[in-house]
Symmetry: D2
Subunit: 358 residues, 4 copies
C-alpha cells in the first residue's frame, strides 16, 4: 500500500498506464474554495505528453472529469475525485516487456513483488502517467495556496551538463515564479534553454537520453509551518518528491554544497528589516530551520536521472527462459523528462505543503 499521501489533506492516486483511467481522490480540502478549471487544465498541459519534439509522441487529452467534491464550482468539504481516461494506449508496444525487464525501470522489481498478476503494460502503476493525477491534485492545491499568498514555481536548473541561472535565494518572489512558469520551456536564461533543447535533441538522435535538475522555490510562506523531527518540511517534501519517478536526489537550500562551507559561511544572520520583520541576510538554509519555515523563500532541488527508456539496444534478461538476452525498447518515450517534470515538482510540493498548513 503506497498510493496515499498526507495527514490532514490526503491524496490517493490510482490507475495504471494502460488501465481504463488514472485519477486521484483528494480528501480534506477546505470547503468553499473556488477551483478555476481552466487554470487546472493549463497546469496539466505543462505536463502533458506529445506537445513537442522533446517529449513522447503519445498524446492524451488529459481532460479530468470531476466525479465528486465540487458544488457550484466550489469545494464542498467532501472528497474531490477527478478521473483522466487512458485513451491512447498501445499495449502491443509492451508485449515484449512482459518477459524482458527494461534496465532502470520498475519492471523487474514489480514482477518480483506482484508476480504473474503484475500489470506490466507501460510500467503499470509505476508509469510516469501517474504524475497526471498528481499534477491535478497539485493544481488544485496551488490555487488554494495562492489565495493564502503562497506561490510555488520551478525551473529547469540543468539538463545534462548545461546549467541555468539559479533562483536568487533571497529575492525570488511571486513575479519571478509566475514569469518562469508561464514559459513554454521554463528556464531563467533562455539562451541556456536553447542549449538544453539542443542537447535533448542530440540525445534523441543518438537513441539516448539525458537527465537534469529541477529547482523549485516557494515564496510567501509564513513562519512556523512544519513540525519537529519526523514531520519537518524536508521530510514531508522529500517524501512527496521521491514519489515522482526518476527522482534520485533532493536537497534544500545549499544542500550538498553546504558540506564544503564553514559554519561561519553557511549560517544566515538574522536581522529586523525596515518593516520590523525578521529576515536572514543570506538564505543558505533554504527557508527551513529545524524542519519549520523561517519566512524566507523555501528552496529545493530535485535530481532526475536520464530517462531509462532509450531506443538503443540494451542488455537484459528473459524471465521466462531465465537467460541473458538483449532488448530494444519500442514505444514512445521522452529523451528527457525534465521539462515535463517541472510541474510535477511544483505539484508534489503544493500537496505536501497544503497538507502541513491545514
Amino acid at each position: 500500500m503506497s498510493s496515499s499521501f498526507g495527514v490532514h489533506l490526503k491524496i490517493t492516486i490510482f490507475g495504471q498506464s494502460h488501465s481504463e483511467a488514472v485519477g486521484v481522490v483528494i480528501d480534506g480540502l477546505p470547503a468553499g474554495e473556488s477551483i478555476d478549471m481552466e487554470r487546472v487544465q493549463r497546469f496539466l498541459e505543462r505536463r502533458a505528453p506529445g506537445r513537442n519534439a522533446y517529449s513522447t509522441s503519445r498524446k492524451e487529452g488529459d481532460i479530468p472529469r470531476m466525479l465528486s467534491g465540487l458544488f457550484d464550482g466550489k469545494t464542498c468539504g467532501a472528497p474531490l475525485c477527478a478521473v483522466i481516461e487512458n485513451t491512447n494506449t498501445n499495449p502491443k508496444d509492451y508485449a515484449l516487456l512482459k518477459d524482458m525487464p527494461r534496465p532502470g525501470h520498475a519492471d523487474y522489481t514489480a514482477w518480483v513483488k506482484y508476480g504473474a498478476s503484475n500489470d506490466y503494460r507501460g510500467g503499470g502503476h509505476f508509469s510516469g502517467r501517474l504524475t497526471a493525477p498528481l499534477c491535478f491534485a497539485g493544481a488544485v492545491c496551488i490555487q488554494i495556496l495562492e489565495r493564502r499568498g503562497i506561490h510555488i514555481g520551478a525551473h529547469i536548473l540543468s539538463v545534462h551538463n548545461i546549467t541555468d541561472t539559479p533562483f536568487d535565494p533571497v529575492a525570488v518572489n511571486k513575479k519571478t515564479l509566475r514569469d518562469v512558469t508561464e514559459k513554454e520551456f521554463p528556464v531563467l536564461n533562455d539562451n541556456t534553454g536553447a542549449e538544453m533543447r539542443t542537447a535533448i535533441a542530440e540525445a534523441k538522435n543518438n537513441m539516448d537520453s539525458v537527465g537534469g535538475i529541477v529547482e523549485c522555490a516557494i515564496a510567501g510562506l509564513p513562519v512556523g509551518i512544519g513540525e519537529p523531527i519526523f514531520d519537518g518540511l524536508e521530510s514531508r517534501l522529500s517524501a512527496a518528491l521521491f514519489a515522482i519517478p526518476a527522482v534520485k536526489g533532493v536537497e534544500f537550500g545549499e544542500g550538498f554544497r553546504s558540506t564544503a562551507l564553514f559554519g561561519s559561511e553557511n549560517n544566515d544572520a538574522f536581522f529586523y528589516d525596515v518593516n520590523g520583520q525578521v529576515q536572514t541576510k543570506t538564505n543558505h538554509h533554504g527557508g527551513i530551520l529545524g524542519g519549520i519555515s523561517s519566512g524566507m523563500p523555501l528552496l529545493f532541488r530535485a535530481a532526475f536521472k536520464p530517462t531509462p527508456s532509450i531506443a538503443s539496444e540494451q542488455e537484459s534478461i528473459s524471465l521466462s527462459r531465465q537467460e541473458n538476452t538483449s532488448l530494444r525498447i519500442i514505444g514512445r518515450h521522452d529523451p528527457c523528462i525534465v521539462p515535463r517534470a517541472v510541474p510535477c515538482v511544483e505539484a508534489a510540493a503544493a500537496v505536501a505543503l497544503l497538507d502541513m498548513m491545514l
Copy 2:
C-alpha cells in the same frame, strides 16, 4: 505533531535537551526477538558526546533504561520503551538564547511556533540530543534486520573538502560494513580520515565548524521491499533521514551525479549470475527501482551542513528588544557533527527499513 514515524513499526521520540529524560517508544516489534543490550550500548557510544577532541565536551552516560516491552531479554509484542536520563545539563549556558536566536538553529522558528512556552534550553525538542533515542531504536532494529541477513553500515564520505573512497556499489557487503563501522573514525581510507580530523581540529581552533557527507549501504536486502508512488524506499528513507538535525540533502545511487550521465551510461544491465540470481552489472540505481529494492546493495548519501553553533561572534537579533544585535554562543558544541552522525544515519535507515519489511 511530528515525533512519530512508521506504519507497521511505529517509533515515537520524546524529550527535550534539558527535560528530565529523552526516550523512545517502539511499537510493532515482532515478539521473540532477543535484544543484546551490550551491542545496543556500543551502538549508542558511537553517537555519544564527549568521547574525543572533535565532539562536544558534554558527557552523558546515555545508559538506556528499559521500561517495557521486554520479557526475559526478548521482545514480548508489547511496545518497548527506553528512557535515557538527562544528567549533565547546563541550563545557564542557554539563558541568553531565550532572547537571541542562534543563526542556523531552530531557535527562532520554534519561538514563533510555540510562543512563550517554547523550551528554548539547548534547542529543546529540536536538539541533536534527540538522536540518542533514535539511535536506540535503530540499534534494536539493526539486530532484528541482521537476523534476517540484512546489514547496514555507513562511513564518513567527506568532511569539508576532503573525500573518502566511496563504497563499491556492486561489491559492498557485510564484511565491508562491519569493518568500517567498528572503526573509531569510520572511513574506508584511514589516511583521508587523518586529514579529516585535522580539518575538524582546525575549524575548532578557528572557532568555526565544518560539515560533510555520510554514505550508507545496506547489503543483503531481498528484492521486493518497498511500495509504489508515495511509499517507495526513497520516500520512506529520506523522510527518516531528514529527521536528523543538519541533514540538508539526500540522494540514492548516483543521485545528483546521474543528472550528467546519458541514459546509456546510467542504466544498469540485468543479468543472471552463476547462481541463477538476477543482478545488475553496475549499480547506478543504488539498489532501488520504482521505489522497490532490486536485490543489489542499497546506497545513499546524506549531506550534513556545518554545525551552526560556532564560537565566533555572529549577527542576530534580540526578540525582546526587537533590534539587531550580536551573539556569542557559549556552551559545548561539536566543530563537526559528521562523525557522531554516522550511527544516526544507520539508525534512521534501520527504522525505516524494518517498518517496510514487517
Copy 3:
C-alpha cells in the same frame, strides 16, 4: 477528512448523493486475487434501492465500472478504483432542504461545518448512497476472505419490536451464513420475517418509519487476529460500523446483556475438543478476548435507528429566516433501512477484518 479507513488495506470513499458518481479506491489488496464480478454485482443488489415495497423507489443501476487495479480479472497490486454513476437523481426533491434541515439527519451539522458550499442535495456526502461503494469494497474483501476460509453473514435480528432467532453463538458456521444471506429477506425464522415486513408496511402507511438490529457472525476466523489496546477487533470493527449512517450502537458477544450476568455465568470455559483444538464451551465473549480473535465465531450486533426521513409533517427551522417552521419531506425514502443495511454491515466487517489480517 474522514473518508479513508484502514492501515494495510486502505479504502477511500468518495461521492455525494447527487454528484456525478460515487466510488471507492481500495489500496493494499494482495496481488493475484480473482474478483468474480457477478458475485460482486449480486452483493450490491442486496443493498440496491427500488427492489421492493419496503425500500425507496429511487432506482439505480449500480453497475460499478472498474477504472484500475485489475489485470486479466485479477488484482494486480495497484489500487483498485470502482465508480458507480449517479443516474437517477431528483435534485428538485431537495431544494427545500437547503433551508430546512431534516430532523435526525446531518443537514444541520453539515451546514454548520461546510457553510454555504455544503452540497445539501440528498444529504451530499452523508447520504446512505455512499454505502454503495462501501458494499463494493466489502464484496471484494469477502471474496478474498472466503478464499482464506473466513465467512461473514448477517441477518435482521429485529425490526421495531419483532425479534428473529439469534445466531447460535457456538454452532454458527459457513452454511448458516450462506443460507441466510441468500434469502431475499434475511432472517432465520421466515415467519418472524413476515411479521417484520408487515410492521414496515404499516409504518409506511402511517407516514412513519421503524428501526432494528442487524446481527452479524464471522465463521472460520483463526486465533490471533487483532491487536491490543486501540486496535483490538472491537475498536476496528466498531469504527467501521459506525460509518454506516443510522448506526447508533454496536455490541460484541453478549454485549449489553453481559452487564446483568455474574462472572461465573459470562466466562467461557476453555477445553480441548476431540481434534485437539482449543475451544470454549459457550461463547459469551463473541469470539474476541483482549481485542484478539479466540477462534470461536465472532458475533456482533449493530443498532439502526428508525429512518429519519418520514413523510409526516415535522417541526424544524428555516436557516435563512432564522425562525421555527414545519417541514414535510418529499422524495423517496425507506420506511426501514434495516433490510438494505444487512450487506452494509457485512461489508464494513469485511473491510475492517481484511485490513487487520494483511
Copy 4:
C-alpha cells in the same frame, strides 16, 4: 501494533502489568497549556486500585513522573511523556497462569499471538493496569477541553440489575457533571448507589463478580466537531472506548433502544431557543448527527462485562500438557470494575474528542 491512538493528538501507551513501569506519550498537545498536576493526581486516584472494599487490594502510588513536554508547568509543544512505576507486583501470583489461560481473559489469545515470549504476568500489556496511563492522558486533555468550555463526566448507570437515574439528555450540564464526578461512588441516586455496593459485596462473598454500564455526557461541545463516514464522533469515540478492557458494547443517544421507536418518536425537532441558538427539543440523537456534533449534550453508554477474574474454581486447559483442567485464580481482583472504570471512560472520551478538535 496497536498502542497508539489519534491523528492530530497522538497518544502512545506502553507498559505491562509487571514491567518496570507503564506510561504514555502525548504528541500534538497545543503549546502553552497549564497542567494542574494536583487535579491530574486526583483524577488518577478515582481509577487507582486499593481504595476500598470493592476493588483489588493491589496498591500502587500511581504518581506519574513527567519526563518531557512541560516547561515551567506548561506544555511546550514537544511530546509529553509520563511514567508510572510498577512497584507493587506479585509475579508469583501469576506463575500458574503461564500454563492455564484464565477464562474471559486475553491469556490464551496473547499466547497464540506472541508465543513463548508473551509476558503473561498479570495479563501483560492487556492488563487493566494500562488504563492508568490512559487516565493520565485523559486528565491532561480534560483540563484543555474545560478551558474551551467543554465538560465531560460519567456515572455508574447500572451494576448487575440495579440501575441509576440516567442523565437528562437535554438538561445535563457542567454542574451535573462536576457534582457526580466528585462523588466517591459516582451515581446520581445515592440510594441506588448503596444497593450497587451491596451487590458488589455479595458477588465478592460468593467468589463471583458483576458488570455494569457507565453513562457519559459531554456538555458544552460546539456544533461541527467530527467528520463524515469513517471519522464521525461515534467511530472515533467507540474506537477509544473499546480500548478499555471489559467494554463489550457502546451506544450513543438512544442507542439500542432507538430500534424500538418509530421515526416520529426518535426524531428530534429543531428549534431556535430564546437566544437564537439552534437546539433540539429532545435529544434521542445523543448530540451527534451524521457523525458531527449538533450542539446538544453528547451522550453515550459503555457496557462492562463482569470481571473475568473470579475466585471460584473454573474449567480451563493446560497448554503444556494439552489437556483439560480446572483453575483457581489467586491474586487481587475487583469483584466489579465499573466504579474504577468511570474515569477511564471519561479519559477515553477526552482523548478522542480533543484529537478531533485540534
